[in-house]
């Protein structure tokens, strides 16, 4: 563990506040660009209302959406096992101070404990490295988008066409429910569980960061054009702005499998990252993980 300039629970509370109240700049730019090219009047009204809301949330320091979602954490670098308790402490504090809506419940009794915690919460992915820093990243997703997560074990012969078919259908069948226009996170390959995890991790990556893999990059661009040409539009009410970006991650898989997963991020794809070294903390709103 490195020496920390600030306790982790406080960093976590800062991250939750920042992610909830300030839209990542890359998503803000993408919304502005979309408002520039969108010609459907109803779609323009939707985009205008979203941007207006984003401004108000930032100025007033309030959550941009009432569904403050469920956070997924990514912890990378040097850390101790105790980091889990620190993150829990940070969530408990942020629930009071931001404030966050208490969202977690027992899956069967539906009882809400009121603190956004409980068995298995939060979800934390650990990526230990020997580097001399600690990076804590958080992705916040509401149920509107999380409920639209889809995964499939395709046949290897389905190929790239089959993958694209599944992604397009997943987005269009979700319709207006995940508050489009948003970001489409895709996982291809891996094991079934890793594939879903990749699709969600892809949403952490800023829209202006290019995919290093030329094949995936081309798929991203192609899907971006196709989805925006679908006519679904903001909130599913029609228009040419259905997605702000597509982000794909891939991993090797079994020779008899072709897993694919789609995690839809709404326009309020909320992220925040703290990069902690012994001398200071840098905050950002996206990272390639």
């Amino acid at each position: 563990m490195i020496k920390l300039p600030e306790p982790i629970d406080r960093v976590v509370a800062n991250l939750l506040k920042a992610a909830n109240t300030k839209l990542p700049p890359d998503i803000g730019w993408a919304l502005e660009a979309a408002a520039g090219w969108e010609s459907d009047p109803l779609a323009r009204t939707q985009l205008g209302a979203i941007m207006d809301n984003v401004k108000k949330a930032e100025v007033l320091g309030r959550p941009m959406c009432q569904d403050t979602g469920i956070p997924t954490f990514y912890v990378k670098g040097r850390f101790d096992a105790s980091i889990r308790n620190d993150i829990i402490k940070g969530i408990r504090a942020a629930t009071e101070t931001v404030p966050l809506r208490p969202n977690t419940v027992d899956p069967l009794t539906r009882k809400n404990l009121g603190d956004n915690l409980g068995e298995g919460m939060p979800s934390i992915h650990y990526i230990p490295t020997d580097d001399n820093f600690l990076e804590i990243a958080v992705l916040i997703k509401g149920a509107g988008s999380e409920n639209m997560t889809r995964s499939a074990m395709l046949n290897p012969s389905d190929g790239i066409e089959g993958i694209k078919r599944f992604i397009v259908d997943s987005v269009l069948d979700a319709g207006g429910r995940p508050c489009p226009p948003g970001v489409i996170g895709v996982g291809i390959g891996g094991t079934a569980d890793e594939c879903v995890a990749m699709s969600k991790r892809a949403l952490m990556s800023p829209l202006d960061r290019e995919n290093g893999d030329p094949v995936l990059k081309e798929m991203e661009e192609d899907l971006f054009v196709k989805l925006n040409g679908s006519g679904l539009g903001p909130m599913g009410l029609g228009g040419s702005t259905t997605v702000l970006g597509v982000k794909i991650k891939a991993a090797c898989c079994h020779t008899a499998s072709l897993p694919v997963a789609v995690s839809i991020g709404c326009w309020a794809t909320r992220r925040a990252v703290a990069r902690i070294t012994e001398t200071g903390i840098e905050y950002e709103q996206g990272a390639d993980l």
């Binding site: 009204t45 009432q66 397009v168 207006g176 599913g236």
Partner: protein
Amino acid sequence: MRELRTPLSEKAVRELRAGDTVYLTGEVVTGRDEMHMRAVEYARGGKPIPEGLENSILFHCGPIMVKEGGRWRTVAAGPTTSSRMDLLGPEMIKRFGIRAVIGKGGMSEKVGDAMREAGCVYLAAVGGTAVSIAESVVEVQGAEWEDLGMAEAMWILKVERMGPLTVAMDSEGGSLYDNVRKRLIRDV
């Protein structure tokens, strides 16, 4: 652009057409999954229902509220996904004489049929615009069934120029969602 004021008459509602944009002033009542289940259960069992639901505007919303000096304040209040309430939608609309449902994403054909029968419309709020809508809440008039939790409770809110709201399903069977869905280009 039209201004609507509650209480809404059946006539006023039946004049609205899919595609119209409106701003709403007056009283709205929030309700999500749990509130729907309880309202229907109580009504079927003859148990009393909190005042305010009858002939109201039902807002599919689980807001963030804070209590300051004994009074509730709305921090964030955007619409939630309405299709989760599809099952109980028709009964809610007919039993309680709901004149408008505010939400996001639209509702099923069966709900559309109930709207046509009873004289009700579906108003699409812009998903996620929770701060703007909270700013249009001028007073929290009631908090019912608080035991369901903040998100699921029934909040009675006084709003001023809440919107923009789009008439996405009208009382004549018109639906923007259907129009869009039918014309979707599914090319890969």
